[in-house]
Subunit: 213 residues, 2 copies
C-alpha cells in the first residue's frame, strides 16, 4: 500500500500538544488506548528488545495523586519559566506556559493518564547507552500520540513529574528497575481541527557537511 503524502504530512504537522482542548467529560474506551498501544508497538527500538510497558491510570484517586505530584514539580518551574519567556518577548513560549498552567489545574480531571515505561535504567556512564535507551521509547510514545490524534483524541507528552518519579512508582507499584518516560493525559479533543505551528524555515536549522552556526 502506498502512503498518501498529504495525509502523512497533515498527521505529523497538526498533532499538537493538547492541554486546554481536552474533553474532561467524555469517557475514553479502553479499546482505543489498546489500539494506540498496538500502533506504538511498531515503532523502532534498540536491538528489537521491546522493553516498553504501558501503565494506564483511570482510577480517580490515583489520578488525583498523580496530579498532586505533578503540581508540586510544575508550579515553581512554570512561574519562573513564564516570566523569563515574557521578558524575552517570546509570546509563543509564554502561551505554552499558560496552557501548561491550565493542565496543572485540571490534570486530575483528565480521564486517562498514560505512563509509558521502559524496563531497565539508562546508563549514567555510557552516553551512547543513555541515548539509545531513550531512543527506544520516545518514538513509540510519539506514535501513540499520533495514533490518538487519528482517532480524535489528544494528549501532551510531559516529563515534569519525573522529578518525583519514585513517588509515582510507589503509588503505582512500578519496580525500581523500570524507568518512567513521562505522563500523557489522554482525552478526546474539543473544537475543530488543529493547525501547524509557526516554525522557522528548515534551512535555518540545517547544516550541510559541517556544523555552521
Amino acid at each position: 500500500m502506498t502512503i498518501h503524502l498529504a495525509c502523512a504530512d497533515e498527521l505529523l504537522s497538526t498533532t499538537r500538544a493538547v492541554r486546554k482542548r481536552l474533553d474532561l467529560a467524555r469517557p475514553v474506551p479502553r479499546q482505543v488506548i489498546l489500539d494506540c498501544i498496538r500502533i506504538a508497538q511498531q515503532a523502532p527500538n534498540g536491538s528489537n528488545r521491546q522493553d516498553w510497558r504501558w501503565l494506564v491510570v483511570t482510577d480517580p484517586a490515583k489520578r488525583q495523586a498523580l496530579a498532586d505530584l505533578y503540581r508540586k514539580t510544575a508550579t515553581d518551574y512554570f512561574e519562573l519559566a513564564r516570566g523569563k519567556a515574557q521578558a524575552k518577548g517570546q509570546e509563543q513560549t509564554a502561551r505554552v506556559y499558560d496552557s501548561a498552567q491550565y493542565l496543572v489545574d485540571h490534570l486530575h480531571e483528565v480521564p486517562v493518564h498514560v505512563i509509558p515505561c521502559q524496563r531497565g535504567r539508562p546508563s549514567q556512564d555510557d552516553k551512547g547507552h543513555q541515548a539509545g535507551f531513550f531512543a527506544s521509547i520516545y518514538p513509540a510514545v510519539w506514535s501513540f500520540n499520533l495514533a490518538l490524534r487519528a482517532r480524535g483524541l489528544g494528549t501532551v507528552l510531559t516529563t515534569l513529574h519525573l522529578r518525583r518519579e519514585a513517588e509515582a512508582a510507589q503509588l503505582l507499584g512500578i519496580p525500581d528497575d523500570v524507568t518512567q518516560a513521562g505522563l500523557l493525559p489522554v482525552a478526546y479533543t474539543l473544537g475543530e481541527g488543529f493547525k501547524p505551528a509557526a516554525r522557522p524555515a528548515p534551512e535555518t536549522i540545517t547544516f550541510w557537511d559541517t556544523w555552521g552556526e
Copy 2:
C-alpha cells in the same frame, strides 16, 4: 482537515528500520531532506525551545569517516549480541543483527547521513531533565523518519556511533555543548512496500492502574 485513520495507522505501522533495502545508487535531492526536516519541526519539544539542529552529511570522505567510526563501535557489539539472540532462539532479533551487519558494511555508500543534534547536554544528576532532554529530540527524529517513508525513502535510527561521539564531533565541527542524538543513513528504498512487524498483543504489555508484571 480530518486525518484518515487507515492512512495514519498504515504510516505508523509500516515505517520499518531499513538497512538492506536502501538504494545506494539513487541520489537524494536536498529539497527532500529539507521537506522532512520541516515536518519534523512540528514535533513536540520541551518548553518549545526547538533546540534541534540537523547536520546532513553528503561529502563522500566524511561519510567514509563516519562509517569507519560506526564500524569500530558496531562490530564487536553485534557479534556478541547476535550470538546471544541465536542462543536464546530469538530469530527476529538475530535477523535484526544480520541486517545491522549489512549496514555496517555499506554505511559509507548510503548517499546521505543525517545526524540530528540538540543544543545543550542532558543533566547527569537530574533524571527528570535527562528524560525531558531526549523527549525533545526523538519525537522529531521519528517524525523525520515517517516523513521520509511517505516520500519513498527510508532510514534507521542508530545510536551506536555515540560511543565515539567526540570523534564524530571533531570530524564535523560540532561544538562541545551540542548533543548528537544518532545517525540516520537516508536513501530511497528498494522493492515493494513494507509490512507491520510481528508483535505481542498490546494487552500483554499494558497494565491498568497498578503495575502487574
